[in-house]
């Protein structure tokens, strides 16, 4: 009996060690977060491709607010000019920059859509209404893709920081990955004030 134990215990220990160190989990989650990130980029690209169409259809409207339009164009140029490489994921600074640029484009686009409400002719235009639906769908997809990225990164980071897998992370140099946040955290955590009084 003891001899069997002597024979199999080291093997069992080795197996437990190999599965317990989480090396494979790191590989799996790293790959999962990369593909989730690709999906985020994919959807952002879809939005960037949509912007010229929206701008073109809005330009058809005479005397459309020029300022709003140029802001969208500039934000898109800025967002697409940022080079995104796989290293962006491991570089919090580049990640923040990218996120900020996309956030600006989000803001400019939603402002454009609000302004467009004031132009009845634009609202009656079927092509513009279709673009509006497409943009809305794209924004939804971006939200879902970001959510999934957030979840995989969370899993990865928990693995990278909890014992004993953090030892593996240290040994191989796996740092926690950056995650999405919002630019205006203070602003959105305050309840909005609604004021109907005319000034």
């Amino acid at each position: 009996m003891i001899r069997i134990l002597k024979r199999w215990l080291p093997l069992a220990l080795l197996a437990a060690l190999l599965t317990g160190c989480g090396y494979n989990d790191f590989q799996r989650l790293d790959e999962a977060s990369k593909s989730a990130w690709s999906e985020v980029l994919n959807q952002y690209q879809r939005r960037a491709d949509l912007v010229p169409n929206i701008v073109a259809s809005v330009k058809g409207e005479a005397n459309f607010e020029q300022e709003t339009l140029t802001k969208v164009i500039e934000a898109r140029a800025k967002a697409t000019s940022i080079q995104v490489t796989p290293e962006t994921l491991n570089n919090p600074e580049a990640f923040n920059k990218f996120q900020q640029a996309q956030g600006e484009l989000s803001g400019a686009l939603s402002r454009l859509m609000v302004v467009a409400e004031r132009y009845p002719q634009l609202q009656a235009n079927q092509a513009f209404r279709d673009l509006r639906v497409t943009l809305e769908g794209t924004e939804n997809r971006i939200t879902v893709a970001r959510n999934r990225y957030i979840q995989t990164v969370q899993e990865y980071n928990v693995l990278a920081r909890s014992f004993p897998t953090n030892l593996t992370a240290m040994a191989f140099g796996y740092d926690p990955k950056p995650n999405f946040s919002v630019q205006n955290e203070a602003e959105i955590s305050r309840p909005p004030t609604v004021d109907f009084e005319k000034k």
Binding site: R3, R7, E39, D130, V133, G137, N140, T143
Partner: protein
Amino acid sequence: MAFQRMWRALGALFLIAAASAAFMAAAWAQQAVPALAGRVIDQTATLSAGDRQALDAKLAAFEQRKGTQIVVLMVPTTAPEDIAAYANRVANTWKIGRRDVGDGVLVIVAKDDRRMRIEVAKTLEGAVPDLAAARIIDQQMKPAFRNGDFAGGLMAAADQLIARIDGEALPEVASASYEQRSLMDVDWEHLILFLFFGVLIGGPILRKLMGAILGPLAAGGLGGLLAFAFTSSLVVSGIAGLLALGYTLLAKPASFSGGGGGSGHGYGSGGWSSGSSSSSSGDWGDWGGGGGFSSGGGGDFGGGGASGDW
């Protein structure tokens, strides 16, 4: 004394946990995802029993014919979430759509919010693009809902969705032979690993127990029998049996004593039974073709579809 202290500490911990749970519930008072009780779930008691049955029958017939799962959900409100976020959460929890295909559609109506949404799984984003979903909402649902005709609007929307998905080339509805084929696909890798280790451990033990001739024969027979039970293929099981026989014949007898052999055998049989139970309880969806309805578990919803209001 020490016990008392421990109990007190435990009680305090429990209180903290309960308080934080209550706080979380207050902070994140999201609507719960309802149980997937059928193809038509009406929490607002708007549809009459007859309407519900008619709609259910239409969707069930379509699922039988094409395989696609369409579910209609009516809730009072989705607050505090947007209907798009809520619909995505519900759809991804239910995962409606066949397991290997992922073709599901969720039609959701928030009656008090006066908003509706058609949430489309990724597989069907080609058949029902966002624009098509928006048209269905604008042309079928919106006018009917404005007149208070929810059943009519949902029926018309279901007809439109069915017509669109019918035009898409989706895999055929699963038949018995299809299931058997995928059973083999699933089990291949596990089976090889399992037999490999089974023979590696069980072979020497059998040889020790039953002798140099009878042991290998038993190992070969057992290996072949098990392989046949899993794959139901004579060729595969024959090869597995021969391999087991060859290995056990050539392998050195196990180097532990007779007493050890007995307990070793116990270990071996434990290995067999756990192996077979793990492969028989493979990830099979409870995907009944008959009476009851359950999600295929394959739908992946990436935010496709459209929302509208009335």
